[in-house]
Symmetry: C2
């Protein structure tokens, strides 16, 4: 429940229609895409301009109201699950592309712009915004920056971080902080834009983002390679990179995922394949030809039984539709889908695949694995039912084991989904206490009342 | 003067030979490459391993000793000028390349590794570390990260920031903080590695750095285009980018710089050229051919009188030797060389060139301009004599005018040289007070005694 006086204050800032307190509305913003407990906010507000956004932040801080900023809520680590009784601030009305600069290859956007819509506007100008997180059709650019979202093209083009040139954000007092800029080189002041990336709404509230654009590749070629042995497929991934080829995309799917996709949409996938690689190379036409030929040869050396090269855009779309189907298809198998993203150095993919097999067996679980093999970022997906307590305990033990294995292989807890609420307790296993102490000190002074998305990344703080 | 007891403590940590307090030694570390007043430290220490480095930091903090970490001292904004009576900590003995991983395309280095030596070791393994700051022959990787050093290849390959995957650093208490990692994708915890980049030694002391490596281009081609009109040359730069060509390097030189280089080393440069562009395109052989042809055509469209394409490595070296000669040649003309790096969006290069001409005339100064035109990062170089007070006042006024112009064009105070002591007072002109307040709050909690390279970036603090 929120006091009437405060509700009134919010209404003054964002307008009556943009303050929600009905039970159904509060429920709609009590969860995100992570498999975690819901938490109901006391109020949901939707500012329509920057000025209101800053005032919302200030009002929350002055009244000790916990504030969670939310784009599309596609977060997979609980980063957009609000504090119980707190405030959810929607960025959906802050959805303007303020500038696309073709001469200087940058764009300025508000945080609520939808990723895919932005990418399409950029493409219409003959340019490319490469980051393509799985949820791009609905996710927002603000959320992408707050989580440092990855995607399929990260192998060659990098992740959201690599495209953030500047972020203007409100500090917890509602004061506007500018950082970065529109120049390719900029070393003026602390890299606060860099600090905002992956900070999950805990250090500031984004007002405006400057993103880098690049010329699109002149040509591309997609391929699908089928392997009778999963270890051969994962060794082929390592061999492609070791041969100094950098595909735009290099995706992996295990047999369980292949069969589940085929069951979901009859696409003619080889049901008996132990694993498939989906690969796209891009660049200058001649380079594409050379790279495609080399990739094909490497796959065959690693005992691929077939390598199909897409002959036209329709065939190319079929390849990538299969990949896009992976998660929705797997998600239909059991009531609960736990999508993990522990990540390892790419050469450790074969070892990680072996470990995932061992873990599935040990805990008697169904794990379908697919993902961005080219950058070591697999998505082992545990299909389960959270209501079955016994099985859920085994799921939790398996997740612990997956993290332990990834760290032992020199990897990380999260490649692209974030820490949020889900992985905060594992942080010290990766970095020890030094990084946590340093981060907590920083948070304590930048958000002394701990109102900015509390509990995320650092776990519960005392404030 | 340092108290004997403290000197003794330092000797216990780093060994007797690694503690310097002689006048000549202190003098040697009282300045860097910026045109600023010297400041003498009380002691210079040189730890030979990580453990000692951490202990030095701790000892300084416990005793309120101001600490400036120094690599090669090539800093151009006073970032390595110590606090008077403070401690200089040399990283020159922390010079080990700990790992070059060819499978996973990363390297782990200590902060004192020399940039060019590292690049050569990487090249020997058939890989590329792209950042190539002007001082690379002597500069250290720790310094490069602390300053986010740029270089000639930034246009296509980015700057140091784009190659930092992780930084382990000591906080002010001497506690080790880990951040980032060896995976291409990593969103575990705050982007502390990102925060360290360009922080100029004010937020932590680097222990170890993880750097990204890339496969080298298969082919390259260098060109030199001569223009009778400077504005045509700068328009050609904008046109190359607008045509979606991304050269590895795209450098500019004005007539004064050309004549000064020719005077320095008879290289056969065209003395009557108003301006020259030095360009290198790289990548797949076919792409190089196409890009080179397009660049040549664009230069000719913009009234270049000649475009010479280097036929072999000797001719290529001659092109880049001329560029490397620019600063040493200019530096010989007058006793004092002020090398600026205010940076604008690339399409604003013509406007910036015009402004520089106006400023030189107004303040009756000799300004030679060269630099990284492709990324908007020019180096207007004022040739003067600091002992001539009247002229020096005009220089200071001209610098103010250059910054004002760059900011008015949507640019930034510093593209790659850093803020240091030199530009701290201009910070608020670019970002306003919000960013400065936020940064000062952060600094106040991460370095409560203000011992880490005080005065840099944020100016004098109260602590």
């Amino acid at each position: 429940m929120i006091r009437d006086a405060l509700k009134n204050e919010f209404q003054k800032i964002v307008g009556k229609d943009n303050v929600m307190t009905e039970a159904a509305e509060l429920h709609a913003y009590s969860y995100d895409s992570a498999v975690l407990d819901q938490a109901q906010p006391a109020v949901v507000v939707r500012p329509e301009n920057s000025e209101s956004l800053g005032k919302v932040v200030k009002l929350c801080n002055e009244n000790g109201l916990k504030l969670t900023v939310r784009g599309a809520g596609t977060n997979l680590s609980g980063g957009t699950i609000p504090h119980p009784g707190g405030v959810v601030c929607l960025t959906t009305a802050l959805d303007k592309v303020l500038e696309i600069n073709e001469e200087d290859l940058y764009a300025v956007v508000q945080p609520g712009v939808v990723t895919a819509k932005f990418a399409a506007q950029v493409a219409a100008k003959g340019l490319l915004y490469p980051p393509d997180p799985g949820s791009q059709a609905v996710s927002t650019l603000g959320g992408n920056v707050a989580e440092n979202a990855g995607g399929l093209r990260a192998l060659k083009y990098g992740v959201t971080k690599d495209y953030v040139m500047g972020v203007d954000f409100f500090d917890v007092n509602g004061e506007l902080v500018a950082s970065g800029g529109k120049t390719v080189k900029c070393v003026t002041g602390y890299n606060l834009a860099g600090l905002m990336i992956a900070s999950e709404g805990t250090l500031g509230v984004f007002e405006k983002i400057i993103l880098k654009l690049v010329p699109p590749p002149a040509a591309y070629k997609s391929m699908m390679a089928v392997f009778p042995d999963m270890m051969d497929a994962s060794r082929a991934v390592a061999a492609i990179i070791a041969n100094k080829i950098v595909p735009a995309t290099l995706e992996f799917m295990d047999n369980f995922t292949i069969r589940t996709i085929e069951n979901f949409r009859k696409a003619g996938l080889p049901l008996d394949a132990a694993a498939m690689l989906l690969i796209e190379v891009d660049g200058h036409q001649a380079q594409v030809e050379d790279d495609a030929a080399k990739v094909e040869a490497i796959c065959k050396e690693h005992k691929a039984v077939s390598v199909r090269v897409a002959k036209d855009d329709a065939e190319r779309n079929a390849v990538w539709q299969a990949r896009r189907d992976a998660l929705p298809a797997l998600a239909r198998v059991r009531p609960t889908t736990v999508l993990e993203d522990a990540t390892v150095p790419r050469s450790k993919i074969p070892a990680m695949m072996e470990a995932l097999g061992r873990i599935a067996k040990k805990y008697d679980l169904t794990i379908g694995t697919f993902g961005h093999a080219g950058d070591g970022n697999l998505h082992p997906t545990i299909l389960t039912d959270k209501r079955d307590q016994q099985e859920w305990h085994r799921v939790e033990a398996a997740i612990d084991a997956i993290f332990e294995e990834a760290l032992a292989l020199g990897g990380t807890l999260s490649g692209e989904h974030g820490i949020g609420l889900a992985k905060a307790k594992y942080m010290k296993n990766e970095y020890g206490v030094g990084a946590i102490n340093y981060s907590r000190r920083m948070k304590s002074v930048l958000d002394p009342n701990n109102i900015l998305n509390p509990g995320k990344i650092l776990g519960p703080l005392l404030a």
